[in-house]
Symmetry: C2
Subunit: 204 residues, 2 copies
């Protein structure tokens, strides 16, 4: 069976860089924005709209029992939120079937649980997250207070989305195999150590 690694990450923690570097090191396929692009292609919705919907609690109110049966949803008049989630689930499963891969976000730790992924959660102290954001072009113009608000809001939305899909708490240790605080490290160094951990697991 292919090896699947999922990386969940707090905004500003360096989780995306970590995921990208780890996938490169291991020679695994890497999925992040690629999932959004593929959903956009299949649903004819814009990437921006899907990104927004993918990090918020969906707007519909009937329950989705993920992992039980998505096909039963066909009998509903699916709205766009449900369609996005359905495609996301399908695309993640296709990726897992195709090759060993690393997936950032998208509640992949839960949606791909039948593959027993190695589930990593990347986080950092608030000061460290602010410092990291300030180095990015996109957030460079924001004040410290604005950054704090942005960090809190995005993570709140991620947590709500995860809760909705999984009925689990985002960032709670029991949902992961490894949780890493990046505040005191260079991301590239952590990648080396985590690659070693993963090798040890496969030798068991």
């Amino acid at each position: 069976m292919h090896k699947i690694i999922t990386v969940s990450r707090q905004f500003g923690s360096g989780g995306r860089e970590f995921g990208k570097r780890l996938a490169e090191k291991l020679g695994y396929a890497y999925y992040d924005q690629e999932i959004i692009k593929e959903i956009a292609k299949r649903t004819k919705l814009s990437q921006a709209y899907i990104s927004r919907m993918s990090e918020r609690k969906p707007l519909f109110s009937y329950p989705i029992h993920i992992g039980l049966s998505f096909s039963s949803l066909d009998s509903y008049n699916l709205d766009q939120s449900a369609e996005i989630i359905k495609q996301q689930y399908t695309i993640l499963n296709e990726a897992a079937e195709r090759s060993s891969c690393l997936i950032v976000g998208r509640a992949a730790d839960y949606l791909l649980r039948d593959y027993q992924p190695f589930r990593i959660f990347i986080y950092a102290d608030l000061a460290s997250k602010i410092a990291r954001c300030q180095k990015r072009e996109k957030e460079a113009e924001l004040s410290e207070n604005e950054l704090k608000k942005k960090i809190r809001l995005i993570d709140k939305n991620r947590a709500a989305y995860y809760k909705y899909l999984t009925d689990q708490k985002w960032g709670e240790i029991t949902n992961y195999d490894l949780c890493l605080n990046t505040s005191r490290f260079a991301i590239k160094d952590l990648v080396e150590a985590v690659a070693l951990i993963l090798r040890m697991q496969s030798e068991q």
Copy 2:
């Protein structure tokens, strides 16, 4: 400054073995039962009594502002719980001053926060914890249900004690630098990888 590592651990997760092996690998002093023994010596209380008190919410009800001033407590008619906590705090600080060390439990991650310890939390899935306990002489005669109850009770007490001393949630990622689920690993392998992580940190 000396390097301080703290290891908090769920009951049955292999955290004590992990701590002992990591301390050996790094050549650090190792403190676990040693703290209890030293408290017993200084308070003239039995080790069994102190162990029990050290993993429960203390029985007294007035507030202790740890880290502000323990000396102010002298004006109280200290009961045994408070005396144990005071000695624990003193002994931990003495250990941190003496040499680089690794401390298991005792809310050392919080009590020694001025030393910026590297804070590790070791946990495991319930099935893995039960399997580990079943291999121990002490718990070998317990049924699976009895073991489940024991695991839950001990961790509940540890969480309550930690909450009381620190006003923080035990096992919540933000209180740690690294959280490791031991379910899919041999403890000795994890020690190798964590030693590598620690080396990377010190090179920063």
